[in-house]
């Protein structure tokens, strides 16, 4: 099943503005993670929020998780041109028990920050 649908698909903002991306998913999860992908590169892990957490901060990033609505948002404050990248949410639907499970990714949001 398709999991982790982001919206918008593309977002263009000016440097200094805030960027908000949303993600919806369909099944129960252990955690939800956000990754960034610069063109031609691999995914860089940004932040992980566990299913029993509602909000998490890391530097200029703020992530929220609403398990009742099966949705998450990523807010990047005071954006910079270097934040230009694709952003993906990914869900870990694993059964716990100490094992590491696959991630199911959404299709991503392409963020362009104009200088």
């Amino acid at each position: 099943s398709q999991q982790g649908e982001e919206d918008p698909q593309a977002l263009s903002i000016q440097e200094g503005e805030n960027a908000t991306m949303n993600c919806s998913y369909k099944t129960s999860i252990n955690n939800l993670q956000w990754y960034r992908q610069n063109s031609g590169r691999g995914l860089v892990h940004l932040i992980l929020i566990r299913s029993n957490e509602r909000e998490k901060h890391s530097g200029r990033l703020r992530v929220t998780l609403d398990t009742s609505k099966k949705s998450s948002s990523l807010l990047i404050t005071a954006s910079r041109a270097a934040d230009t990248a694709s952003y993906f949410c990914a869900t870990d639907e694993g059964r716990g028990g100490g094992s590491n499970y696959k991630l199911t990714f959404g299709k991503g949001t392409l963020l362009t920050v104009n200088p």
Binding site: D92, G98, N100
Partner: protein, 118 residues
């Protein structure tokens, strides 16, 4: 090492030829994952390993794809009799094991191998 290393960066094969991709996970990470990214957005899970054992192979096309993670060697993903539709970027990721309870471990990705089938 401190990064997931994938080789080669780019691989070109004619349709029907074999392709073999390699991945060296971060030292100390016991899980390895392979994903396929098509059209710059969709990531498809292929297979994961816990040390040298297959952990989850639910995403692997059975007929032509195989993978291994042997001790003291890079992990590998091999595609026999490649097809045009196999053209994609193949990413390897690794993660640590916590050993108990939900792992909640991030995955660390390499820069991928771009496979072009002509």
């Amino acid at each position: 090492g401190e990064e997931v290393a994938q080789t080669p960066k780019h691989l070109v094969r004619g349709e029907g030829q074999k392709a073999k991709l390699y991945c060296a996970p971060i030292k100390g990470h016991s899980y390895v994952f392979w994903y396929q990214q098509v059209l710059k957005n969709e990531f498809k899970f292929l297979i994961s390993f816990q040390n040298e054992n297959v952990f989850d192979e639910t995403g692997m096309p059975k007929e032509r794809f195989s993978a291994k993670c042997l001790p003291n060697s890079p992990c590998s993903l091999e595609i026999q009799a490649t097809k045009l539709e196999d053209s994609a970027v193949y990413f390897c990721a690794s993660s640590q094991s916590r050993g108990r309870g939900p792992s909640n471990q991030p995955q660390h990705f390499g820069d991928g191998t771009r496979l072009s089938i002509l």
